[in-house]
Point group: C2
Chain length 217, copies 2
């Protein structure tokens, strides 16, 4: 494999470290970049550097953001009283694509997994409870609905949209246990047969959930 | 899709222009780069720029090279008397990987394709004939074997390893027509059933070639 010049071999090596990119694909990408116009290669390199430099976490919901607040938290049309809890930014994007949720998010940055040493302190659970807690205290002092400013900050529903694997389920359960005494609705996204799916390929646990969660027309 | 910050969207856009990288993969790669250590992202960006800056074509065989001459042309252990003609650098790498060829290469940079407006002047055929021609003239003046210096530069075999599609075949035929009067061997790589392949999946033309090219044990 020392047929290519060093500079190509170096790029192939760098590209191979990306997920899902093997040696062959890296070779093809490197040769494409080599033959692409110079400005395209420069844009790609600049975009990589800009990404690392600019992207921060939203100080409110911990979503990826170019500024202090993400687009969703900064959008006055979004309902800050509903928080949807997800494991990571990609999950948030999946929910946004569906276009049915108009509230705010809370990105945990993972799920509870004692086997991997990930306990409640390793993900952003404290921050979630703090966002809800602020509202609970104000409830004790006076009726939340009375003060306009405080009403705006109220959380009245937490939708738990962590994964449906063991880690996601136990994280959901942990959050529920911690929030059930609050004067808010805590819900979990529905599990069941995926739309457009063929029933014969649905696994047992999903089918069980679909039957348990059956509803009237 | 305006859920991601601008700098992530820009990188996703740039990555999507690469071959075989769709929107989804670009998204995954961008998020990977985002979470990767800073030095890895910097290395990747630097390698892209270095590639565009450093890689040239070997002035002898037109292979990709960091300097004036590629590794193969610069290697005194390679036999400069045998030239293997390929369409592009990736084909050369495939042959090098097999490890059976110890001569020099000539990279055409494509194949004849009148439909796409690629005629003999659009690929490096003139340069190939010039490499062989230099030897033909010296033959007329004096016996090539007599002068050590000239003998070194002699080409005594041209192996045509262009593709086995219509374009590759017609390019091979064109080269053969132009070289057959020279005092050299002109050969074409063998076509037939791929090793390890199942006969039932071999296409008709390949099978025809395999039968025509049958040989004794």
């Amino acid at each position: 494999m020392n047929t290519y010049p060093d500079s190509i071999l170096k790029l192939i090596q760098s590209l191979s470290t990306l997920p899902g990119i093997g040696r062959k694909t890296a070779e093809r990408l490197a040769l494409h970049i080599l033959h692409a116009p110079l400005h395209e290669a420069r844009t790609l390199a600049a975009d990589i550097l800009e990404l690392k430099e600019k992207v921060k976490l939203c100080r409110n919901c911990f979503a990826l953001s170019d500024g202090d607040k993400c687009r969703i938290c900064a959008n006055p049309n979004r309902d800050s009283k509903i928080i949807c809890v997800v494991e990571n930014p990609a999950d948030m994007v999946a929910i946004e694509k569906a276009g049915v949720f108009k509230g705010h998010y809370h990105i945990l940055g993972g799920a509870l997994s004692p086997m991997d040493g990930i306990g409640p302190d390793e993900i952003r659970l404290k921050e979630l409870f703090k966002r809800v807690h602020a509202q609970k205290k104000s409830h004790k002092k006076e009726n939340c609905a009375e003060k306009k400013a405080e009403k705006e900050a109220c959380v009245n529903e937490v939708i738990i949209a962590t994964g449906t694997d063991v880690e996601g389920e136990s994280t959901a359960s942990y959050i529920y246990q911690n929030l059930k005494d609050y004067n808010i609705t805590v819900s979990r996204i529905a599990s069941g047969v995926p739309m457009g799916g063929d029933l014969q390929y649905v696994d047992q646990v999903t089918m069980q959930r679909a039957m348990e969660g059956r509803h009237g027309f």
